[in-house]
């Protein structure tokens, strides 16, 4: 039946997101908070994340382009906010890259920061794509009872 095949596909995609380290336990915690009163809670929070994080990435990129002396404190503050939000939705790889960036910031290693920033952007873009696919498929499947969450 087409419906159960989509369910299976969805379960596999989710399992892969976790197995490959894109998402961590916190994402499950968010799904636990979803209920009839807030059936789209996870997608709403993820949307907020990508809205805020895109803005932060733009600001960081601009700050990195500024002429010397580099304001590493400001860079750190911006990346802290990104890491904080990433952590709140369970975006593990993004969070980890943010941590690496902040360590390089601490050492005032501009070259390192520039390289690390590219990695942060890359992980951010990959996750965005994967989650867009995930939610799109979820919408096709329709409301799924928490009890029938399979494949875990």
């Amino acid at each position: 039946m087409e419906c159960s095949s989509l369910h299976r596909q969805l379960a596999i995609i989710k399992k892969n997101l976790f197995d490959q380290g894109f998402l961590d336990e916190q994402f499950y915690q968010l799904e636990e908070l979803q209920d009839d009163a807030s059936p789209n809670f996870v997608e709403e929070v993820v949307t907020l994340f990508f809205r805020d994080s895109s803005r932060l990435l733009t600001n960081i990129e601009q700050a990195l382009r500024e002429k010397h002396p580099q304001d590493f404190h400001r860079l750190d503050v911006l990346m802290y906010q990104l890491k904080d939000s990433a952590s709140s939705i369970g975006a593990a790889k993004v969070k980890n890259e943010c941590t690496v960036f902040r360590e390089l910031c601490d050492k005032e290693n501009l070259e390192g920061c520039l390289r690390s920033f590219q990695k942060v952007k890359k992980e951010h873009a990959i996750l965005r794509q994967k989650l867009e696919n995930y939610f799109q498929l979820q919408r096709q499947v329709g409301p799924v009872e928490k009890a029938t969450r399979s494949g875990n």
């Binding site: 915690q29 807030s38 994340f49 802290y80 709140s88």
Partner: protein, 135 residues
């Protein structure tokens, strides 16, 4: 004089707990609000210490304040200090949240009168325990 903040009576002896949540991150505000509502609290969420103080000055009944530590302009610690320095507000329990586990920071907040210090990401179990601070 230790007069605990009382909830607004809703029905037959039941109180509705009103929590003021303060966090500059919209993601974190959405999550903490959801966690609190799941614990049957009424939630008002604001994005800065300044707005929190404005709201508290308008005298709605707030049974607890839960605030992020790091925020631009006014930190959660600054907000905590302002609340504890105010004769009107000092009885309101304040809980601090942070994504960073810094013992000095935690101690400073507890010494200043914070009831608890939660590490982000905050879980449902953390929030359920908060009702202990509301008498």
């Amino acid at each position: 004089m230790a007069t605990p903040a009382r909830g607004v009576p809703v029905a037959a002896g039941e109180r509705e707990i009103h929590v003021l949540a303060v966090d500059d991150s919209s993601v974190d505000r959405a999550v903490i609000a959801r966690l609190l509502r799941n614990s049957k609290c009424r939630v008002t969420a604001v994005d800065s210490g300044k707005k929190a103080l404005e709201l508290l000055g308008l005298e709605p009944k707030v049974n607890m304040i839960i605030t992020d530590y790091w925020m631009p302009d006014m930190t959660g610690y600054d907000l905590l200090k302002r609340v504890k320095e105010s004769s009107k507000l000092r009885e309101i329990p304040v809980v601090i949240m942070s994504s960073e586990n810094v013992p000095n920071r935690i101690n400073r907040c507890l010494e200043e009168g914070a009831e608890d210090f939660l590490l982000k990401p905050v879980r449902q179990s953390d929030v359920t325990k908060l009702s202990n601070w509301i008498r």
